[in-house]
Symmetry: C2
Subunit: 331 residues, 2 copies
DNA sequence: TTGAAAGCGCTAACAA
DNA sequence: TTGTTAGCGCTTTCAA
């Protein structure tokens, strides 16, 4: 059986309250006593029971992380970041995968909310109302979107798209296709806006081909429509979609970047390994997770900080140029 | 503030213990009372406080999952499986990523073990002794290896390798290279043995090229040595390595499968997307996670079941033939 | 600076 | 079948 605070107290010759104080408010206890307690703790290998502590403090020392799909490399990276940073703060992470089912989300968060101090929520598709309802239950930090005044870590999608378009226009492309992700996705919306602004500013034109699943299959499905637009370059919702495009274009014998340049978003590991290697807007995925944790913990310590949280700067993407983009074909 | 068991008791006009019983041992309480309790629970949206319950039962309703790298698609899938099955049992999952650092593992598990009922441990490289030490602290289920009599979910690596070799030999290959993973990895060991047995049985020969990191980079690094063996086919430790091989072979202008056939292990999503698409031994990754959870929970319910657990059948892989393997070149 | 006492929310004897 | 009582391990008043 693990040692309890009473065992430590007995061994150190003090009361349990003193042990408790020595551990959590060291300043309030005499240095000599503190040393005796420390020795006893060491000797017994004592670790405070978190459940018992939580019962009294109301804090569990645990946060939740809800993602649509752990097998999606983007979310895997975010999870990695969350998990690493949480550990630094000695906070445990409950992970829940919604299997891309936004309906499951609310229930999941509700169940989770009883057991955690707060939740990092990656929920690209939930409506603002749903998110607001969830935020009633527990402290929430959104990732990859911002909604209804909830604190969140976001990307400057507009700037990322501007970089992509600037690159393509410099290569001589004038007509750029855009394969959007799910219609309800916050990123689809903002990337679309960013592209429209960028093409306008650079006197190019945009050819949106609609909304597709944010997957390899989505890219396969979109490819023929992209070709039909007559565009010489295409920006895909994310790398998975871009890699799907690459596959279908290859099987149709359309050369990339010879006839069509392809640009993705995310820079997942797979993108470097694609053939041709994918030009993409790299998003700081792990950093996103780390910041989300910092923000959440700050919020828990001081709910008033929500104001500051609201005004967080979005993270910037960085264009990574690889082989899938090249000069526009001469007509 | 959330409703407590006393609130429910008051509303239902019974004692807290009755509420407790109605919830956890319904059989022991009168149907009518049970209904009143249920109504009160419903009305107040009552959810038992798990920390308080855990304090008394000694069970936290939480399990830990330790993996080397969440960004590795193999472990991401296992995690997905663990997480899905745990939820079904209303058990929460703490996830910890060791960042491929076996040294960090023991400490991590120790820290975790105070907060969970048991741990699913993916630890390809830890020594048997380390694992045994960890198992002192808490109930452990190993994934992807078995060691020191600890219960674990394993693969029949020998059979997987037999399938791969049978396929290659049928295509006319006689000399098959083998790119091993980390030297201390359980899978490296068993896949190596399986390959040796299989080539012997089929009168082919094996050309091992040594141990490499289980990554894309590892594959890139191994490629030239593979070519130097003069083999017409190569089996890689896993798909990541195989994809690295593909990349380097491509840049050296060596045609796959024309001059060299490549086979991986795992069947991660990326493999289908590789070019040429990768022939591989598909491992049931999510199933692995699910079984690990079932086994762990069974063990927790009845530690004696460890006997049964020890005799678990290994999971079988299944050869998926894609474009990266073809007939051996004619000399 | 320290200790005694109370109690967080729940379950598990033990009685009734 | 139900209620009473005690207590899980900890923190936090309150007094000393």
């Amino acid at each position: 059986m693990a040692a309890t605070i009473r065992d430590v107290a007995r061994l150190a010759g003090v009361s349990p309250s003193t042990v408790s104080r020595a551990l959590s408010v060291p300043g309030m206890v005499n240095a000599a006593t503190r040393a005796r307690v420390a020795a006893a703790v060491e000797q017994l290998g004592y670790e405070p029971n978190r459940a018992a502590r939580g019962l009294i403090t109301g804090r569990t020392g645990t946060i939740g992380l809800v993602v649509p799909d752990l097998a999606n490399p983007f979310f895997a990276s975010v999870t990695k970041g969350v998990q690493a940073r949480a550990r630094r703060h000695d906070v445990a992470v409950f992970v829940a995968d919604t299997d891309e089912d936004p309906a499951a989300e609310a229930g999941l968060v509700r169940a989770l909310s009883k057991q955690v101090d707060g939740v990092v929520l990656c929920s690209p598709r939930a409506s603002d109302d749903e998110l607001a309802a969830i935020a009633q239950d527990t402290t929430v930090v959104l990732v990859n979107r911002n909604a209804a005044g909830l604190p969140g870590i976001t990307y400057d999608n507009e700037d990322g798209m501007r970089q992509a378009v600037a690159h393509l226009v410099a290569l001589g492309h004038r007509r750029i296709a855009w394969v959007g992700g799910p219609a309800t996705s916050w990123s689809t919306l903002h990337r679309g806006v960013g592209l429209r602004n960028a093409v306008e500013a650079l006197h190019a034109e945009l050819a949106p081909v609609g909304n597709f699943a944010p997957t390899y299959e989505g890219g396969m499905a979109a490819a023929d429509q992209v070709v039909a637009t007559g565009a010489t370059a295409v920006v895909a919702y994310n790398d998975l979609v871009a890699i799907g495009l690459l596959a279908r274009l290859h099987s149709r014998g359309i050369s990339v970047p010879g006839e069509l340049s392809v640009v993705g978003v995310d820079d997942i590991a797979m993108s470097r390994m694609a053939r041709p290697a994918l030009t993409t807007v790299r998003l700081p995925k792990q950093e996103t997770g780390r910041l989300a944790v910092e923000l959440l913990l700050a919020l828990l310590d001081d709910p008033e900080a929500a104001q500051i949280a609201g005004s967080q700067e979005p993270l910037h993407g960085e264009l990574i140029v690889r082989e899938s983009s090249g000069p526009a074909p001469q007509k």
